[in-house]
Amino acid sequence: MLLHELTQAELAHRLRGDGLGLRSGPFGFRIRSRVPHVFQGLGLLYAASPLLGDADFIDFDLSLDLVPGVRRWLRPQVHFVFDGTTPFEPLPADHAYPLLEWSMNWCISAHVHDSLLLHSAVVERGGLAAILPAPPGSGKSTLCAGLIHRGWRLLSDELGMVSLQDGSVGALVRPVSLKNESLAVVRSYVPDAVFNRVSVGTSKGSVTHMRAPSDHVARMADPARPRWVIFPRYVAGSPPVLTPRSRADSLLELGRNAFNYTVLGRPGFEALANLVTGSDCYDFQYSQLDDAVATFDGLLHRAQP
């Protein structure tokens, strides 16, 4: 059963009651909330996501609700509760939906250690994955949003999940996070994409989330083989410039961008070394999404016999 098959009343009832069981890749989330922005955001952005059945395992049990007390009426805030604990400071109620997405990321990055978790977007085409690690502000999510509407499949826009067993990259297929100037860029590039409302004044500026294409969500169980590691950087006015970079240096940079590399120890090192030795590594500078898509399509063309 998919989320959009629930009526609005059923969705609200689950969120207010025992929780909404939602699948994202290999993980089961149970989410509880009485906050309208959370209800609206989930209904809009996770419409094509599968719901968990009664017998399905819940990996992460979380809730987002208004902080009680007089503040509830003056400057309402929301807090994230995970397994009965509150890991973060509360945020303004208007930031409830981004807080949910950040909290879901935290649940995975802080607790999942049977995969190497890279801070990166991952897209796939022809069974081959391009891993896009980059710091905030590099244009990683903008590039990811453009690519997934021009033939590439979304695996994740934030967490590259590398299997320690076989080196494949798993899919989470959650909404794509966009902020500040990238909102207008992606709205213009993908006019029919579905966006949540914009939350302004967050720690990351103005942020929203874009719904993942439903056929990508339907393939959340399909991993891909890493083929490229591409460090993107948006530079205003730049033509597309793809520059090969050292695999050894890429290994170190990926390790610095990983959530659990040092936790995993040697298995993480071996997974990362296998990943870079099986991939072509590049720095990529761009300013126009069409140029970027053409560059990525060119890489795919050269990689396929």
Binding site: S246, R247, A248, D249, L251, L252, G255, Y261, T262, V263, G265, R266, F269, E270, A273, V276, T277
Partner: protein, 100 residues
């Protein structure tokens, strides 16, 4: 003559691998990458520092003369200079991979 002086100074000093480290090596293209599992740190090493570290890892403590002979043989490069070796040793000490 400067080289001889360095050899004599170096002969008084013995170097060894830090016994607290555990190293795992991968050759990635022409670069060695080594993971130190107790600290969780990863280092990218050129051929000479990698050969030095491997020489210590393989056996007993060495002075600079012994080390120079070993890495010249391992790398097949007779032109490796004492001064360069001393610099590499200092770098490995700073990384806490080698002790004096």
């Amino acid at each position: 003559m400067a080289g001889s002086s360095l050899v004599q100074q170096g002969a008084e000093r013995v170097w060894r691998i830090n016994p607290a480290v555990g190293l795992h090596w991968r050759l990635v293209d022409d670069q060695w990458v080594v993971f130190e599992h107790n600290s969780g740190t990863t280092h990218q090493l050129d051929a000479l520092p990698a050969a030095v570290l491997m020489a210590f890892e393989a056996g007993r403590p060495l002075d600079v003369r012994q080390l120079l002979e070993q890495v010249r043989e391992d790398l097949g490069q007779q032109e490796i200079m004492h001064a360069h070796l001393q610099t590499v040793l200092q770098q490995l000490v700073q990384l806490e991979l080698v002790l004096q």
